[in-house]
Amino acid sequence: MNSKINVMILVDVIGALSAGTLQGGNLCMMDDGDLASTGQGTPTLITNCLPGQLIKWSALAVDVQTPVAIKSIRFRSPDGGGDEGSGAGASGVSGSGYDANLDLEVWEGIVPAYLTPGTVYRYDVELQMYEGAASILHNTSPGLMRAM
């Protein structure tokens, strides 16, 4: 088992901004975990993981001259409740809330042990593509699941 799982978020920035959505082929996610993650290459990636593994998220633009960065990652309760995950990621300014330079942010953390095996913990990825009101789009489909 790898101690680290990389989750890559690949974005067609021009397509996403033109359509105003990350759906319709404008975003795909994949990871390099070895626990049979599902939804590889789609917005609904479910990353299978185990407690203690380090998971790192990175965003990459299809067109290398278009900007995209992760603005926040917020975990939701597995029961679908409205409460979002605690932590600085919910600050709403930038990930750690210090300044707007998203290049400085490293989105990684350790899988806690209290995840219930077989339960999907969905999270909301907020992506920023340049600036302005229409520059931020969400993908609420991906999740983590503790492997059984």
């Binding site: 278009t66 900007p67 309760s77 995950g85 600085a88 750690s96 290049d103 806690p112 340049y130």
Partner: protein, 284 residues
Amino acid sequence: MAQQLAIIVMVDVSAAVKARTLQGNTYLLDNMKLQGSEGEGTGALVTAINGTHWVDGSMGDEQVLNWLPCALGSIPMTVPRNYHLHRSRQIEQDALTAIRDLGNSTPGRTNVSAELGRIHGSLGTKVRYRRPGGTGRAGHIALDVTGNPTGRAPSGASSAPDHPPLLITDIFGEAVERNVIFPAQYGSPDLVTDGWYWSASVDSTREGVYSYTMALEVHRPIEENGVWAWEPVRLTYQSRLRISNRPKRNAFTGAGVSFLPVPPPEPAAPAGTLDASTTSPSLF
């Protein structure tokens, strides 16, 4: 947002050729306004390059610069480069058709001399390229920005001729000499730049403001023994980069790595014995 950086170098070529300088005739803009570039759209652009580093001091993000030159008021760069040749052939074909129609016209009902003059005028002026070894033998018709022939002479025509593509031929100066940027010309299948463009990787650990100079080749129309030609003119223009470098940090904590902020399960407190708010989940 660590996208590749693009710097558009827009030049009013006609004015630059006339004044023999790019000063006051060059407009620069990049895609780093969000990250702090200053002077967008002016000749005094300062491109912001926000470098990052890890806790061990190593480079966090690679930064790549690309320069794309374009001439103000010219036929758009997206038009294929053989457009001038294609239009020249079409204009000549139209003239041949007009001559044939003139030959088939009813004698006495057409002012042949005037019509021939009109056809001759529709051919515009052919221009060649002048190089150190001499002037090219064949040329194409000088076109204006709408794709129509300019008048009888490119420099004195009623409509301005579309200049040959603006070229960057070198990038040098302080930032290069001090090994802050490492520029080179690259080839790609990109139709916009005809496959050639200047690019540079940046040592983003070198914080500070650095200047660099671009050498650009523009063309001026000259007349030589009754033949019009484009003569290359080499001009230079200086711009600046401002490099900053800051440490990476964990986005969830603002500091080092920790557990993911996944909402913990609701504690199942024994009835009446324990306040649920005092419990915390075990991490392992």
